[in-house]
């Protein structure tokens, strides 16, 4: 079972992780705003996550931890 942990307050909402995810697990939360004023990333269908860590590889701010 894959598990993603986000340091949401450091997210800048650039969306690179959303674009690179092959399973479309991630999205930018339109209804949330973090301390920096960005819409942070969130996982919407974790069941599809294959823990490939592409999101974490492309995240410029290193906010994603991937576990399996």
């Amino acid at each position: 079972m894959a598990k993603l942990t986000f340091k949401t307050d450091k997210c800048k909402g650039c969306g690179l992780c959303v674009d690179v995810c092959p399973k479309k697990v991630l999205t930018l939360a339109a209804d949330k705003i973090n301390a920096k004023g960005h819409h942070p990333v969130e996982a919407v269908n974790m069941d599809d996550c294959i823990a490939c860590a592409f999101c974490a590889t492309m995240c410029p701010d290193c906010i994603i931890t991937v576990e399996r």
Partner: protein, 250 residues
């Protein structure tokens, strides 16, 4: 089982870079390599002037802030005084290819045993998007609003190609970080550059094609595509010089 987590050598602080700027990816790759080689305690990094001026806050190893463009000169001093330390510089294109060109070329010519990470994003990021020595022909910037005119402003400098003609340079490679495959290749290149220094093989420079979504006027996603469409055709990726295998044979 942890598949991916923040490397220890990268400080746990928010980076000041714009959203989608690939500086953060390169910082992480350098930190991962420092972790993997187990050299955090003896590594000294030299920060430049430019967007990455505050790189000294982002690595857990010792850092020195150099005057604009002079990072290779400072690295030379540190490495010669403390040869057992691992010394790397982290420089942008305005720092390395413009004001610091002399220091870059001469440190390569002297074959200093240092590692240089060179971020090429074809623009001056920190000062607001002016034309850099690496800006592409026709590229629109603050100081070239009608596109870079090569009759008037000359041509971009290809650092890896230029330094490959310098006898002292030992390892030169150009990589990009615009997709997962390129990021993995970039890490391999950065690791080799650090490994070269550990083994005393001499001057290594890795040029990383990076993005500047803010000053290019593109979204982070479009900026990554722009690297593929415009930057890589002008700055082809690959190894430009590798004397390290030859040194092993000797």
């Amino acid at each position: 089982m942890v598949v991916f987590e923040k490397p220890h050598a990268l400080a746990d602080v928010p980076l000041h870079y714009c959203p989608g700027c690939t500086h953060g990816i390169v910082h992480r790759l350098v930190a991962e390599v420092i972790d993997e080689l187990g050299i955090e305690g003896k590594t000294i990094g030299i920060a430049p002037v430019g967007c990455s001026v505050m790189a000294y806050n982002y690595f857990n190893c010792d850092m020195i802030e150099a005057a604009h463009g002079r990072a290779p000169a400072v690295a030379t001093g540190v490495k010669r005084a403390n040869p057992e330390n691992i010394v790397f510089t982290y420089q942008g294109d305005g720092d390395l290819a413009s004001i610091g060109m002399a220091e870059t070329v001469h440190s390569a010519a002297r074959n200093e045993n240092i590692t240089i990470i060179f971020i090429n994003n074809a623009i001056y990021g920190m000062t607001g998007g002016q034309m850099a020595p690496t800006s592409l022909p026709g590229q629109i910037t603050q100081t070239s609003p009608y596109g870079r005119d090569t009759d008037h402003c000359g041509f971009p400098i290809k650092v890896c190609e230029m330094l490959s003609q310098v006898d002292g340079a030992q390892y030169l490679e150009r990589v990009a970080v615009n997709n997962v495959k390129n990021v993995k290749n970039a890490k391999k290149a950065i690791k080799k550059a650090f490994q070269n220094q550990v083994e005393g093989k001499g001057f290594s420079l890795i040029e990383v094609i990076s993005t500047c979504p803010t000053n290019w006027g593109l979204t982070p996603k479009k900026a990554l595509e722009w690297v593929d469409e415009k930057m890589i055709p002008y700055y082809p990726l690959g190894v430009y010089k590798d004397n390290t295998a030859k040194k092993e044979a000797e």
